[in-house]
């Protein structure tokens, strides 16, 4: 079956279950497809050092690690980070690429499937 270029675009902040489910979905997709997980707007908070369990949400650390092992590409939008004054991301055992809006647009344009959250 066809391997597709798939983007999971996470716009919502992670402080509820949405980003958690989005990342679980991205891990599943990364088994078959070339997956780009792109965090924009409040979605970028998912990559900061926050404490999900304190507010009843499971941690996504394992999903992010799995995405790395499955060769998914994880990207945070530069503009969204700076608008929110986020200077430092949490340390993950996976590379988080920081890309500009223009670079992200190019990835979106070339994607075959885009799932937004």
């Amino acid at each position: 079956m066809a391997k597709k270029k798939a983007v999971s675009l996470i716009k919502s902040n992670p402080f509820s279950w949405k980003a958690f489910e989005a990342l679980r979905q991205a891990v599943g997709m990364a088994m078959d497809h070339k997956v780009y997980v792109i965090f924009i707007k409040d979605g970028v908070f998912a990559l900061t050092d926050w404490k999900p369990e304190m507010i009843g949400v499971p941690s996504s650390d394992k999903s992010i690690e799995a995405l790395g092992m499955l060769n998914a590409t994880i990207i945070a939008e530069k503009e969204s980070l700076s608008e929110r004054g986020i200077i430092k991301l949490k340390e993950f055992p996976v590379e988080i690429q920081i890309k500009t809006k223009d670079e992200i647009c190019q990835i979106l344009k070339s994607a075959e499937v885009v799932l937004t959250w």
């Binding site: 809006k101 223009d102 647009c105 979106l108 344009k109 994607a111 075959e112 885009v114 937004t116």
Partner: protein, 80 residues
Amino acid sequence: MVDTVFLIKKPADFPILDIIGDNDVLILIQDGILRQPSTDNWYACKEDVIARGIKIQESKLLDYEEILNLIEKSNKVVVW
């Protein structure tokens, strides 16, 4: 040829305008119909418009089958 069909679900939540290329189409659905974009290449879900009692010119309205016709001809759908 349509490249990407953007389904816009919320008012004033248009995708960063640089994303939208000449071959892309915006289709307003749900509460997205409450505000219309200033570009030309947009349509609105007829049923969602009529249900909300909003006036939008007939030529901009598509029913669900017409939206799927457009989607079929496109490369992909992005729900925004």
